[in-house]
């Protein structure tokens, strides 16, 4: 049995990411350490965050650390360090120093056996490269259930194509969840890198599309439950991702997932509102434009409704919002966003008179961001607000502003002007009374639809 044991040990020792098994089997830990540590040192030069691992998993003493002789608690602590290192090295496994450093973890700490799941996820963005095939070749015969889909590729040692990963993300909730958790965990530790987030966002966007399509088959009731399951599976990740600061790619990745989920019609009003808030609450200068695109897609699904208060508040902080909306409107429909915003701004007027709000509404109408019906409703809402003005201090200052806005709207010469003017003739509000109240003439002589010309 001793010789059998020895043979097994030798076989285990021959598993390597860099060396042929026969070469690997003959290497001492000292030789290996010197070689791998070189790679580690180069990593430290590239990124100082690697330095902390000099104290433990890359310490000279690590040469004598044998996991099988360590306690469970020691192993647990070791796992944390190994995973923390793997997260950080993820962006660099294509580089020789990265590969050499990971080689040490394979040879000394057998991460391919003890940390299979984390290691595979770290390498997954590189699934097309030879290093991924090499990794598959040294895996233990039992692999974590999330990665069952890799089995045929492990058997044939062929790199798994992207669509196989997407398929797994559609059909295996455990894989979806584990990939999501990995990305959130690595992002929280500030260890994310562009290729990982691009890989994740792409796979998940396709997967969400696939999951939503899949959930549509079957009876209506079942469909709804399936859809809800997909949404519930993704919500924690979206909340975590949108709640994180200073991670532009993760944020835009979440916008991408949300846009697909919303466009597939899967989000009910409550979730739409919660997600709209999450989109705007954490956005930063460089994610506002993409955030607005996402918001426009969410609002298109929400129907003609006033924007939620928190969303409106964040939108009013953006300088030149109507101009930004006008730019976006050339590529896609933003009318429900512009409309919902206008209604929300009018609602806010009653509480605080806001010069910007009125000029924003005016600009939105002037820029033809709204449909005729929407223009008509917004104008009616403005008239009603003007009608309801009373003599409290806030509203007294609002009065001349509202008057001049209404006058300006009626004076538009475009088709929009026609819509505004015909709305005036169509409202229940008593315009004579209103004109007296506002001390202005809203109906322009000669252009009002219902008035006869006065020459």
């Amino acid at each position: 049995t001793n010789s059998l044991n020895l043979k097994a040990q030798k076989a285990a020792h021959s598993k390597s990411l860099i060396f042929e098994p026969r070469v690997a089997a003959s290497q001492s830990f000292n030789t290996l350490y010197n070689l791998c540590h070189e790679g580690f040192q180069e990593l430290c030069l590239l990124d100082r965050r690697f330095l902390e691992f000099q104290r433990n998993i890359f310490n000279e003493r690590s040469q004598d650390q044998d996991r099988t002789q360590m306690t469970e608690a020691e192993n647990e602590k070791l796992n944390q360090r190994l995973e923390s290192f793997l997260g950080l090295v993820g962006g660099r496994v294509r580089l020789t120093p990265g590969a050499k450093a990971v080689e040490w973890l394979v040879r000394r700490f057998r991460i391919h056996e003890y940390n299979t799941h984390f290691l595979l996820t770290t390498f997954l963005p590189y699934h097309t490269l030879p290093i991924f095939s090499t990794l598959m070749s040294i895996l233990p015969s039992r692999i974590p259930s999330e990665y069952k889909f890799l089995e045929p590729y492990i058997r044939s040692l062929t790199p798994p194509p992207r669509h196989a990963i997407v398929k797994a993300a559609i059909n295996a909730p455990t894989f979806t969840t584990s990939l999501n958790s990995y990305v959130i965990r690595v992002s929280r530790s500030q260890q994310h890198y562009p290729a990982l987030l691009a890989f994740w966002a792409g796979v998940m966007t396709e997967a969400v599309g696939g999951m939503m399509d899949k959930s549509r088959s079957g009876r209506k009731g079942v469909q709804h439950d399936n859809e809800q399951n997909v949404i519930l599976r993704m919500l924690p990740t979206l909340n975590a991702g949108l709640g994180m600061k200073h991670n532009r790619d993760l944020r835009i990745g979440c916008y991408m997932l949300l846009s697909v989920m919303a466009s597939k019609g899967g989000l009910d009003d409550k979730i739409l509102v919660a997600m709209m808030e999450a989109v705007v609450l954490g956005w930063e200068f460089d994610t506002i434009t993409s955030g607005l695109v996402c918001l426009s897609m969410l609002t298109q699904q929400r129907g003609s409704k006033r924007l939620p208060r928190k969303v409106t508040k964040e939108l009013t902080k953006i300088e030149g919002l109507p101009t930004l909306l006008l730019q976006l409107s050339k590529q896609r429909r933003v009318d429900k966003l512009a409309y919902g915003l206008s209604l929300a701004l009018i609602e806010r007027l009653k509480k605080k008179s806001n010069l910007h709000a009125l000029s924003d509404i005016q600009e939105i109408i002037q820029d033809q961001l709204l449909s005729d019906v929407q223009v008509s409703v917004v104008v009616k809402a403005l008239l009603l607000t003007a009608h309801q003005i009373d003599d409290n201090l806030n509203q007294i200052t609002l009065r001349p502003l509202l008057a001049s806005t209404l006058v300006a709207l009626t004076q538009f010469s475009s088709h929009t002007g026609d819509v505004v003017r015909s709305t005036l003739g169509d409202t229940d509000v008593d315009i004579d009374e209103l004109e007296m109240k506002l001390q202005t003439t809203i109906r322009q002589i000669g252009v009002t639809g219902q008035q006869t010309e006065d020459e």
Partner: protein, 56 residues
């Protein structure tokens, strides 16, 4: 049956898995375009056409 029915209320275009794959399946992860660019491509697939074409 699971066939697509035309929905008048929701005018978002129907996007196939193939169309989505074409955005992402263009190279290895480390050679993909910036995230924002990919987002606009995806958004472009799902967005309804602009309400008014403003020609200046």
């Amino acid at each position: 049956d699971g066939s697509d029915d035309e929905d008048d209320e929701n005018d978002a275009p129907v996007v196939t898995q193939q169309q989505l794959a074409e955005v992402f399946d263009i190279g290895p992860s480390f050679a993909l375009p910036p995230m924002e660019e990919m987002f606009y491509l995806v958004a472009g697939l799902f967005s309804s056409k602009p309400l008014t074409q403003i020609v200046s």
